[in-house]
Symmetry: C2
Subunit: 349 residues, 2 copies
Amino acid sequence: MTRKLATIADVAKRAGVSMKTASRVFNNAPNVRAEKRDAVLKAAKLLAYRPNISARQLAGNRSYIITHLYDNPNADYVANIYNGMRRACDPAGFYAVAQYVAPEEGNYLSAVRAYLDRHYIDAIVLSPPLSDDLKLLDELSQRGVLTGLVSPTNDVSQFISVGIDDVNAAYQMTCRLCELGHKKIAFVSGPDNHASSDARRTGFKRALEQYNLERHNNLFQGDFSLRSGMRAYEQITQQSTDYTAIFAANDEMAIGLIMAALRDGKKIPQNLSVAGFDNTEFASMMWPSLSTVSQPIALMAEETAKRLIDMSTHSPSDTPPSSYIKKAFEVNIINRESTAPLSGSSKDT
Amino acid sequence: MTRKLATIADVAKRAGVSMKTASRVFNNAPNVRAEKRDAVLKAAKLLAYRPNISARQLAGNRSYIITHLYDNPNADYVANIYNGMRRACDPAGFYAVAQYVAPEEGNYLSAVRAYLDRHYIDAIVLSPPLSDDLKLLDELSQRGVLTGLVSPTNDVSQFISVGIDDVNAAYQMTCRLCELGHKKIAFVSGPDNHASSDARRTGFKRALEQYNLERHNNLFQGDFSLRSGMRAYEQITQQSTDYTAIFAANDEMAIGLIMAALRDGKKIPQNLSVAGFDNTEFASMMWPSLSTVSQPIALMAEETAKRLIDMSTHSPSDTPPSSYIKKAFEVNIINRESTAPLSGSSKDT
DNA sequence: CTGAAAGCGCTTACAG
DNA sequence: CTGAAAGCGCTTACAG
């Protein structure tokens, strides 16, 4: 693996410029005449030049590293963030790192502090629940650590952040069910005071309102676990056997609903349509495959990383305007086998 | 983030030794008197010294990086490998990296070649299917790239490798079912010519033989997908309604079996015990939770990384003996809700 | 068992 | 718009 590679000096010599000019080209710095730039690029290609990461870090006193700090049991989610970050980092000569962080005494402050103390990091990306830890965000703000937030609940305007509009996303999925002809629809929310879950319930209610559908006692609650979805099914059918569709605030509960329904002798989607939220890996694998709401996690991470790279590269003076700071991404409503048009007799209010 | 940190020179001065001696201490090199070592360690602690990664890499002309090259849809598996590698790398001052690789024209050779050409890597870890790509292994061997193999099918003695004994693992799980009183047990294998699946079937057959149980037409086949598990359930029940237990060669098929059984009005495990293999994330989440075979993936990766670090650090002369090269890890038979003692009338051959 | 010197390949002020 | 020099913090031969 110890192969003799071309250095920036080799490239500069071949291109007939100074090292500094070559360096400028590779760092997209201004003030290089077009001809020289082309000469450098040509020489680099010829010599198969690749900048030495370590030398760059050492000389530049920075890491060119963006770290995603996470505490999330879902490997799929972490992988999506990582891949999105890579798409932004690779072409810019940056490196993406994923680092698991465990909370200490209820918050992430000390753990993150320890991490930052011993790692050179150009910027960090935080996903829930870290992106909602106000103590942590406060410290980061004070330290001046370049930070990007994925799906933060709170509105912390000093950080760039990406997310989706949960209310609208749930509204869209519910409209979808209404358009399929369903008139009696139940909603299963997640844990109390979970911001996303609350927002999704709001979107659900808004859609029913618009379609003039019954909204009496059709709100149930789980805790985001598969088993709580199964329990919710029991509660729902116990209350009324008229429901023809159920929308759960996450996929796991939706899968629980489906399993309980199968056990109950129901056919999905002929007797009951079920929709989830998140588009987890299992949603497409299972049978019947699950209709759900998909967040463009990778894309969100990619844009976050892009902005962080921008900000770490350019001087603070040309900081982007605030409109650039926060972005809500469009979700995808994914129709799979678990939802179908209402068939047979429909009962309305 | 640009904080003034202590350098090795600071530590050396404070400890009253040369930089070289301090360096020896931090690299676990021999030939340092105990007192000096202690003095260095003490000074390092006092100054909160952390070696500068980039300087180390640049001066040492090596990366201290071990990369896991993978092509596996399962994020959970990749995360396990990564965490195991981290456990070995962190204390040794090495860095673990996970890198996705896509096959080109049926093999991984050119993709890996491109990766190695542009990254300084001290060693690589390969998991299936890369660990079974003979063309790739051949090239790696010729290049002299330090390589560790996870669960290779072929016996490539020049690489260190870790894995489990699939025959024995399946044998153990089958024995477990036999001990629960089951007499009529079906097995669902994976795709044709899949080495692990074949070995697991062999272990299954061996256990039935030992328990003198019927072994007539009780072998079924899927393709490792959930749906193929559901299909297998139909085939099995169509052939005979006497089966009281089914063992699938992976978890996804086992989950498919359970879902098809639930749909069929069966109670799990009262009417049918189901066991899987792999202990995927979903196995514990679902209901009924799935009894399965757990491989110590993280531990396997940890030991692999440890050996690679050893080999990359020590001179080739003290290469470990061949007994050190290959290791089969013990699996864990995990009993959950999907298996239970046979109840009611048992039918035997 | 230990040290003084050179050098890894870049970037950063500084000076034009 | 461009260049010559210094220096980032380590490790590696080399010499004792």
